[in-house]
């Protein structure tokens, strides 16, 4: 494998341009800008790795998010710096030729290739709900992970199970980390994840040759260390008690906090409030819609997107009605027993 530095020089990038690239990369990876020279040094020496991308039970939204930019951007240079040897949406080959390319890459770079996975893996009924080339996703994942240096679970489906895993989970969908136990797994959740977060994580691995620091859910701390609420620009309104009551009311138009409209910002870890989407254009709250909590596990099953975070699943009116009936019955029974005792004591007088 040639080094990344060589690849860039070969493509006519001057040293000055390379240093500019590394400065941008350092910012992308949420590292302090003073680290740019170290990044440059590491990147110049890093090997150009083979990357195999497996798409399982997914909607292709993660690929869409990553490849949105059609003009050559620094983010896309990342994709140019890797040898993307297998990707259903982006590759030209198909059928047996594609599978052959994948197997070839896995053999040639055994122990060194990076495995990217998007989509969850259906496991019910022997895994028949997801197959290609006659093999189940379960088998493909486990075989592909054997020779991988690391696995990156891209998107909420691969990281936590996502939409397929939502109640009642008919296909037995499971996240990558449930099935791959003996390799380092980086979770990059989001529905979809922010493009620069995905490339930033890849860049970190390419530059330093190791996975970044992860939180308890296996997410890179650099991007998932804080909640949306911690960095939300509408925070002053939250603190002052200025909340929008309905969509498009006066408060909503003045940009007030969306807590009452169901925003899950306080419990959601992601970089949306600072990095934002589409090169820093906006993010859901800025556009007037509360955070769905899409980078947290099982966010589909955590109650309505439009009910405030403080409203819990306390049951329903019917359950409370039954509870009330039970309480009344218990009270009546207790009173009956009490009365009998009262009568008995009365007789003893």
């Amino acid at each position: 494998m040639t080094t990344l530095g060589d690849s860039l020089l070969a493509s006519g990038v001057s040293r000055r341009a390379f240093l500019k690239f590394c400065t941008a990369l350092t910012s992308l990876m949420a590292l302090p800008p003073g680290m740019a020279p170290a990044v440059a040094q590491a990147l110049a020496r890093a090997k150009r790795p083979s990357v195999i991308w497996l798409s399982f039970q997914e909607c292709t939204g993660c690929t869409e998010s990553l490849t949105r930019s059609t003009s050559p951007t620094l983010e896309n240079l990342i994709l140019d710096l890797v040898s993307l040897d297998y990707h259903h949406t982006l590759q030209a080959a198909s059928g047996f030729a594609a599978e052959a390319a994948r197997e070839h890459a896995m053999k040639e770079f055994d122990g060194k290739y990076l495995l990217l996975v998007d989509g969850s893996i259906p496991t019910s009924d022997g895994g028949i709900y997801g197959t290609w080339g006659g093999e189940s996703f379960v088998d493909i994942l486990q075989q592909s992970a054997k020779g991988a240096a690391a696995v990156v679970a891209i998107g909420s489906c691969a990281s936590f199970g996502g939409l397929p895993k939502a109640n009642p989970n008919p296909t037995g969908a499971r996240p990558v980390s449930d099935l791959v136990k003996d390799k380092p797994v980086i979770n990059v959740p989001g529905c979809p994840p922010i493009a620069v977060v995905m490339t930033g994580v890849l860049a970190h691995y390419l530059t330093f040759g190791r996975i970044p620091e992860l939180d308890a859910q296996g997410r890179p701390l650099a991007f998932y260390g804080e909640t949306i609420h911690d960095r939300c620009y509408r925070r002053p309104f939250y603190d002052q008690g200025k909340f929008a009551k309905t969509f498009d009311d006066e408060g909503a138009r003045s940009g007030w906090c969306l807590y009452e409209l169901g925003c899950k910002g306080p419990i959601t870890h992601n970089a949306c409030a600072t990095v934002k989407w589409n090169a820093g254009t906006s993010f859901p709250i800025q556009s007037g819609h509360g955070c769905l909590g899409c980078s947290e596990p099982d966010f589909w099953d955590k109650g309505s997107f439009y009910k405030a975070l403080s409203t819990a699943e306390w049951g329903d009116a019917k359950t409370l009605g039954v509870a009330a009936a039970v309480g009344v019955a218990a009270g009546a029974a207790a009173a009956y027993l009490g009365r009998r005792r009262q009568d008995r004591i009365g007789k003893e007088d």
């Binding site: 000055r16 941008a24 090169a279």
Partner: protein
């Protein structure tokens, strides 16, 4: 008039409110300038890592102003280097070929690294100059 045109739209002002984050930033720059003057240590701040609103950027630009030097660099996209009214404090904005900002830094140093000619590029240039001088 379309029904859609009759929907009143209010431009959200919240994104333009200065949050008061500029003052501490200026204090940090003062500290960095002092460190550079006394110990020769350069330093930089990645503006995009801070929660700054549009209003904050306006306030910051007004506070820093512009100084004696401005330069533009063409390297996989345009980059702009501008000395602020405080010599040694530079605003360096890197853009890609699509014009999107890929890094926005405040550097405290004698000269931002991007302006220096790297030895490798100069060596390449020397080869080309010698070729051009051949009869």
């Amino acid at each position: 008039m379309n029904a859609i045109d009759r929907i009143g739209v209010k431009v959200i002002a919240a994104a333009d409110i200065p949050t008061g984050n500029v003052k501490p930033l200026l204090f940090e720059l003062a500290g960095m300038l002092e460190a550079w003057l006394s110990k020769g240590e350069p330093a930089s701040i990645d503006l995009r890592s801070l929660p700054l609103t549009r209003g904050d950027y306006t306030e910051l630009e007004a506070a820093l102003g512009s100084g004696a030097v401005s330069a533009s660099v063409e390297a996989i996209g345009a980059s702009e280097v501008r000395e602020t009214r405080y010599p040694g404090v530079w605003r360096v904005m890197h853009r890609n070929e699509a014009g999107e900002v890929v890094a926005d830094l405040l550097e405290v140093c004698g000269l931002p690294e991007i302006l220096r000619a790297p030895a490798e590029d100069a060596a390449d240039g020397l080869i080309r100059l010698k070729e051009a001088l051949q009869p």
